[in-house]
């Protein structure tokens, strides 16, 4: 049980967290034909968009209600309506996900009410599904914004049904993906679920939209992602698999609406967590014997762990990430004997932070991260790309994890879940340790240097 502490300081140095609306935008981008819309000033959107583009190396559709001083004070309902109208004209989105920002939340607008009024009045908006999530910048971080957005999607788009008379597709499961999952990770989970003969409906599915693909046409909306019909059939699923503690509320919402049982997987990285995932799939598909590829992957992971534990065991690690990612990675490494000497996270909304295998989890920034990593003698840093400055100053290697990763290509391809992904992660970590070329030095042992008398003095050669 980790102690959650807040550093006693006013100044935040080098932020660790990204804002909640950005997280909401990322989640919205996992819906097919979507345009996320920030209800705020245009700068809120511009910064978030640049952030997203730098990470995904993709054109990211992201729009703004472009609030100005007057509309902020008088209320932004007109701005929202106008934005929706213009977006529909320009790119005909099937889905508009609205995320509030600090600006509009500070003023305190009743956006749900206004939106209801707009949708009721504007019948021509009917073929665009509109969802709103309250994600003020001043509360929580990326993971929270993502979670709020998924809850909003579930709440707004899942049909209200009578569970008793709803048809059930017993081979269909809902897969709720937390903010910490990359497109490749979602894909890996889907692969595993399909290997059991089950069909997952992924929400939100950024593996189809932000995976970095070239499409045949240009569109002002997200290309790929969970489709509206898919979302509607979620109520027919037999089970909901929620990945990440932050997805618990969404899973509960589905459970309440459609009587679909659920299970939250706090991590799917590491042998035991994946075992639990597999076991659940065995129960759902009713098979005692799992597909050969899964068995093989597990035995490969065990071999990888055996080889990697020499490098992981006893290594002091500093991790800074959103709670779900922090827990998943630190839990996996601690399971192989690593010592999590520094754990910094972004938000207190997620109770999983308490289960991080460290004495203390700081809710702080990269400044705290750097200071504590230095104090505790960490050998490796794990955080997003902004950690590179700390890594350079501390002369430590940086394993990039989380959002944003803008100084390396292929952030969307990183896969650290499932047996395969865990194996890759263990290798990645062990290789980082090995890449720190440690060569024994006489001084380390306190041995006096070899007398100069013995050293070779190259003569001026004569040939």
């Amino acid at each position: 049980m980790a102690r959650i502490t807040h550093p006693k300081r006013a100044l935040s140095t080098n932020p660790l967290k990204s804002s909640a609306p950005l997280g909401a935008a990322m989640a919205y981008l996992g819906i097919d034909g979507a345009v996320p819309l920030f209800h705020g000033s245009q700068g809120c959107t511009a910064f978030a968009m640049v952030h997203l583009v730098r990470h995904f190396k993709e054109a990211v559709p992201l729009q703004t209600t472009a609030m100005n001083e007057v509309s902020t004070i008088l209320g932004g309902a007109d701005q929202i309506e106008e934005a929706i109208e213009n977006l529909r004209k320009k790119s005909a989105p099937k889905f508009i996900g609205i995320a509030s920002t600090a600006l509009t939340e500070t003023r305190g607008e009743d956006v749900p009410g206004e939106l209801k009024e707009i949708i009721g009045r504007r019948k021509d908006f009917a073929d665009t599904r509109i969802v709103y999530a309250s994600t003020p910048d001043f509360s929580g971080g990326l993971e929270d914004g993502w979670a709020r957005a998924v809850e909003a999607i579930v709440d707004t788009l899942l049909p209200r049904v009578d569970p008793v008379f709803t048809g059930t597709n017993p081979r269909q499961v809902n897969l709720l993906c937390g903010a910490h999952l990359t497109p490749a990770e979602i894909e890996e989970l889907v692969r595993i679920i399909r290997a059991f003969g089950l069909t997952p409906i992924v929400l939100p599915d950024i593996s189809q939209s932000l995976d970095g693909h070239v499409s045949d046409n240009w569109s002002g909306t997200s290309l790929g992602g969970t489709t509206q019909p898919e979302i509607e059939t979620m109520v027919e699923s037999a089970f909901t698999l929620a990945i990440g503690e932050s997805m618990r509320k969404s899973a509960t919402l589905i459970e309440e609406r459609a009587m679909i049982p659920s299970r939250v997987f706090q991590s799917v990285t590491g042998l035991k967590p994946v075992d639990a995932f597999i076991r659940t799939l065995m129960g759902l598909s009713g098979v005692q014997d799992v597909p050969p590829s899964i068995k093989r992957d597990r035995s490969r992971l065990i071999d990888a762990a055996l080889d990697a534990h020499f490098h992981i065991g006893g290594t002091k690690v500093a991790i800074g990430a959103d709670p779900d990612l922090l827990f998943g990675l630190s839990n996996c490494l601690a399971g192989l004997g690593a010592e999590i000497v520094t754990a910094v996270t972004t938000t207190t909304a997620n109770p999983i932070a308490e289960r991080v295998p460290a004495e203390e989890v700081l809710v702080g920034d990269l400044g705290d991260f750097e200071r504590k990593a230095s104090e505790t003698g960490a050998a490796v840093l794990i955080t997003h790309a902004h950690g590179r400055h700390a890594a350079a100053r501390l002369h430590l290697p940086l394993l990039r994890a989380g959002f944003p990763i803008f100084d390396r290509l292929g952030a969307q391809d990183i896969c650290r879940v499932g047996y395969r992904g865990t194996r890759a992660f263990l290798y990645e970590f062990a290789n980082i340790i090995q890449s720190q070329h440690h060569r024994a030095r006489a001084e380390d042992f306190g041995a006096a240097p070899v007398s100069e008398e013995f050293e070779h003095v190259p003569s001026a050669t004569t040939h």
Partner: protein, 515 residues
């Protein structure tokens, strides 16, 4: 094989200072101590390997391997001898003999040109030229080439005549010693000699093991004059003939070198080890006693005793902190076995149970001491087949295996902690401080939380609970079996179906992948 090489081999095998050899009959002695190799059941290194191992730790010289690519290409940069100075010894130099070189007899010329290029590029204090099977077979005379090159370039070129096929790694060690005696030792005089100069033979400073004991020498004022060859400079080796005492570390192979140093230069030697606490203390005591016998001030003995008392107390205090974490752990030792009793004693002192130790290369005396420490000889064994070891470890007869790299995977595949105590290991375990490192390594290995996870049952090895027999019916076409099972589900209440009712869901050898 040339006659000179033949007589050299006969000479190094007849070692009067070697206990094994002295006990042999005249007839056996003539055969030499090389065990005949069994085709299909041999795995050790060759004579070239042995010579390279023994000489490569001389850090500032260039090691040039006269051979087709395999000898150096497959073998370079594979050992952890550490250097506090030049890194030239890690550079892989080879003549890379090609088919044309061999057929046309260009070997010697290519070697000479290689030496010239090497000296021009790196200007080392010396070039060690290694002969290998192919040049030896086609009759390249590396002695002549080295002599010519030395004269021409003014840089000593040392021929090391130990082609692989003449014998084992052990023999290669001996031949390397001969090369040093013939061409290096005694070629340079030190600026000044002291009564505290020693030679250390047979320590290669792997991962810095020599540095773990060097601070002890530093504090006693003892100077390592001739390092053969851990972290050595060429000039040091060349001055080895002026040392007062030689310590031969854990090595029967280089005993010939130690004896010949005694005969030629009147330097007495003793055999000692830096593995284990009591061994380290014994080695220091013996060294100081012999230095005093050879003219050092007698107060050295007192300083030595004081140092030993201080270091032992310090190290036991440090080791004590590990007691709680390693107490009661069962250790299986599988090492060369020479002097393993010293390590055994320290482990037992910390409450560990040594359930077995190999005594493959141990002398009778060592075996006796193991017996004393462990109570009886039940726990000693010569060899253990990988299969038996796997079975023993799999049955959890031990908590940790300490061995060389070859049994590493026997342990790991049995999901058993393993600590590397071989020469290729990455952590140094010598002297007093090395013992702490070793116990730390044992602690880190056996107490890794990973083992419990790895040994736990796979999800499919435990039956699914019976209280949840609800099995959803298949709808559409099963992607695994392609069985169509189109049942109309429609708007009916959920109907549970028993698991047994569903057919055709067995897994097969061919795998269903992404669809």
């Amino acid at each position: 094989m040339t006659d000179t090489l033949k007589s050299k081999i006969a000479d190094v095998f007849d070692e009067p200072a070697c206990g094994h050899n002295v006990n042999k009959s005249e007839q056996q002695r003539k055969k030499g101590c090389a065990k005949p190799l069994t085709p299909g059941a041999a795995a050790g290194g060759c004579a070239f390997d042995g010579a390279k191992i023994a000489l490569q730790p001389i850090v500032d010289v260039a090691h040039l391997v006269h051979a087709p690519l395999a000898c150096e290409g497959n073998g370079w940069d594979n050992r952890g001898a550490a250097s506090s100075g030049s890194e030239l010894y890690r550079t892989g130099f080879t003549t890379d003999l090609t088919e044309l070189d061999i057929v046309m007899g260009h070997g010697e010329k290519k070697l000479f040109r290689s030496i010239r290029e090497l000296i021009a590029a790196h200007n080392p204090p010396a070039v060690f030229v290694y002969s290998t099977c192919v040049p030896a077979l086609i009759g390249d005379d590396i002695d002549a080439v080295c002599k010519a090159a030395t004269e021409k370039f003014g840089t000593p070129c040392i021929p090391v005549n130990a082609p692989g096929y003449v014998g084992s790694k052990n023999l290669g060690n001996k031949l390397a010693g001969e090369a040093l005696l013939d061409h290096v030792i005694g070629t340079i005089e030190p600026e000044e000699c002291t009564s505290y100069d020693v030679n250390i033979i047979g320590d290669y400073n792997l991962s810095g093991e020599l540095w773990q004991v060097k601070p002890l020498f530093d504090r006693l004022g003892i100077r390592v004059l001739g390092a053969i060859t851990g972290d050595a400079r060429y000039r040091q080796v060349a001055m080895a003939h002026r040392a007062r005492v030689t310590m031969l570390v854990c090595s029967k192979a280089l005993i010939t070198l130690a004896r010949k140093l005694d005969e030629r230069y009147d330097i007495p030697f003793f055999e000692g080890s830096f593995y284990g606490i009591s061994d380290t203390s014994d080695a220091l005591r013996t060294m100081c006693r012999m230095l005093v016998e050879r003219g050092a001030d007698a107060e050295l003995l007192d300083r030595c005793e004081a140092l030993i008392a201080e270091e032992e107390a310090k190290i036991w205090a440090q080791l004590e902190s590990y007691r709680g974490r390693v107490e009661g752990k069962r250790v299986l030792l599988y090492t060369g076995g020479h002097k393993s009793w010293s390590v055994v004693a320290a482990l037992q002192e910390l409450g560990m149970e040594v359930i077995g130790t190999s005594v493959r290369k141990a002398t009778e005396e060592d075996k006796g001491r193991v017996k004393d420490i462990m109570g009886d000889d039940k726990h000693m064994f010569e060899n253990m087949s990988p299969k038996d070891m796997y079975a023993l470890l799999k049955d959890a007869g031990a908590d940790v295996l300490m061995s060389g790299g070859r049994s590493q995977f026997v342990a790991l595949k049995a999901k058993m902690p393993w600590v590397d105590v071989n020469q290729e290991k990455h952590e140094p375990y010598a002297g007093y401080m090395g013992m702490v490192d070793m116990v730390h390594a044992i602690d880190r290995a056996v107490n890794n939380p990973m083992w419990a996870d790895l040994r736990s049952a796979a999800p499919w090895e435990e039956p699914l609970p019976q209280q949840n027999p609800v099995m959803p019916p298949l709808r559409g076409i099963c992607p695994v079996t392609n069985v169509s099972n189109d049942t109309e589900v429609g708007l009916s209440p959920r109907a549970p179906v028993m698991v047994a009712d569903v057919a055709g869901f067995a897994s097969s050898d061919t795998d269903f992948e992404d669809c």
